[in-house]
Amino acid sequence: MIEIENVHKSFGELKVLKGIDLTVSKGEVLTVIGGSGSGKSTLLTCINGLEPIDSGRIVVDGTDVHARGTDLNKLRRKIGIVFQQWNAFPHLTVLENVMLAPRKVLGLSKAEAEETAVKQLTHVGLAEKLSVYPSRMSGGQQQRMAIARALAMSPEYMLFDEVTSALDPMLVGEVLDTLRMLASEGMTMICVTHEMKFAREVSDRVAFFHQGIMAEIAAPEQLFDAPQHPETKKFLAATH
């Protein structure tokens, strides 16, 4: 379970998160929508401790992420994150990209890591690309590789930060299909996205962020068909 309690976060003068309260249960698929600068991506990087917070608390399975003495490297093993820019490691083949962390962080043997990596790459449809360097693949393929790379750590939670935003429209579908598959397998996921149709389809709940505040959170039918908050209405009207 991820528990977010009254989280505040600023970058210098700019207040990005202004008191976020949110709980995500095991197996839930939460999507977060909202305009640019609404704080939704920042929240994800705070959840796995890549960004510190100013006040409040984020607790993952009983571990306070931002407490002194929390072993973030250990915590991050169970929270996978995939970014808008997939950040493929260009000097490694697809297989090596996925094997690296299981070998170095989890200490798996080469054979074990390879088995895990092949399994995950097959899962996201890249079984044919094992020995290819990322630069030889499309953005969609690289993004799916990044998903496999995160999954190879056997995370319990997956955070997706606008993973289709930097993709050619033709390639968005294949990545969303991968996310749908994960959702159907019961992975606990928080997806920050601009894909409304996708959000409506896979989410258990949808949260709408506006200027650092979670303005509304509800089941997808309710949020999309009968939004309560005026800003949600405005946002949905503009994006439909």
């Binding site: 490297n73 950040n87 000097h91 962080v105 790379r149 750590m153």
Partner: protein
């Protein structure tokens, strides 16, 4: 107007001796590069550490190595340290001096290379649970070495040529040292030094070409 008769045979007869010297030259250059490389990686980590003492130490090293004559650096290793009771042989002093110089230049090379690697690479590694050192070792360093590789081959050539400064601290087994001794005995300065220059040229060129072949073979991505 030139009343000089060339005596190339005399120089050519000494070729085996000079080639032996060339091997010593190459050996010092390779060792100084290996030591310099290891130190440069350490200096790079010091600069990235955020620790003011470590990064200050690294910056000072780079500044001194790059902005003082290599001759002084070698002199200091031999005579300068000698004043403090640390007596290095000409061979060791030459090696230490050039390694000091190499480390400074290579560390600066690495700094430039690091700028070309996006921060998000480290972030991606950290988000997979790696420590910052692991992310550096497995993600950043390989890319850094690739970017810095061809500029570093210039430094290797420079290291080969710098070994000739060893004559100033009494080095007499490397190519410059051997040539200098032959010259002192024969006064055939032009012939011996021209021949030595050709050997230096061939070594330097061979190293450059070998490095290119290596890069072509290694960096396939």
């Amino acid at each position: 107007m030139f009343n000089y008769t060339f005596h190339w045979n005399q120089a050519l007869r000494s070729l085996p001796q000079m080639l032996d010297g060339a091997l010593v030259t190459l050996q010092i250059a390779i060792l100084s590069m290996a030591i310099g490389l290891a130190i440069a990686i350490a200096l790079t980590l010091f600069r990235l550490s955020g620790n003011r003492i470590l990064s200050g130490f690294a910056t000072t090293w780079v500044e001194v190595a790059r902005n003082t004559p290599a001759l002084f650096q070698i002199y200091m290793a031999h005579f300068g340290l000698g004043n403090f009771g640390i007596h290095l042989s000409p061979y060791t002093a030459l090696l230490v001096g050039i390694a000091f110089n190499n480390a400074g230049y290579l560390a600066e090379n690495f700094r430039g290379a690091l700028k070309a690697i996006p921060d998000t690479q480290t972030r991606a590694g950290r988000s997979l649970g790696m420590t910052s050192l692991q992310a550096f070792r497995w993600i950043i360093m390989p890319q850094m070495l690739r970017i810095a590789f061809l500029p570093a081959t210039n430094q290797m050539v420079w290291a080969i040529l710098m070994t000739s400064l060893g004559v100033t601290v009494g080095m007499n087994t490397d190519l410059a040292g051997v040539t200098q001794e032959l010259n002192a005995r024969s006064f055939r300065t032009f012939e011996f030094f021209a021949l030595a220059a050709v050997i230096y040229y061939v070594i330097a060129k061979a190293v450059t070409l070998a490095a290119r072949a290596f890069a072509w073979r290694m960096f396939r991505y």
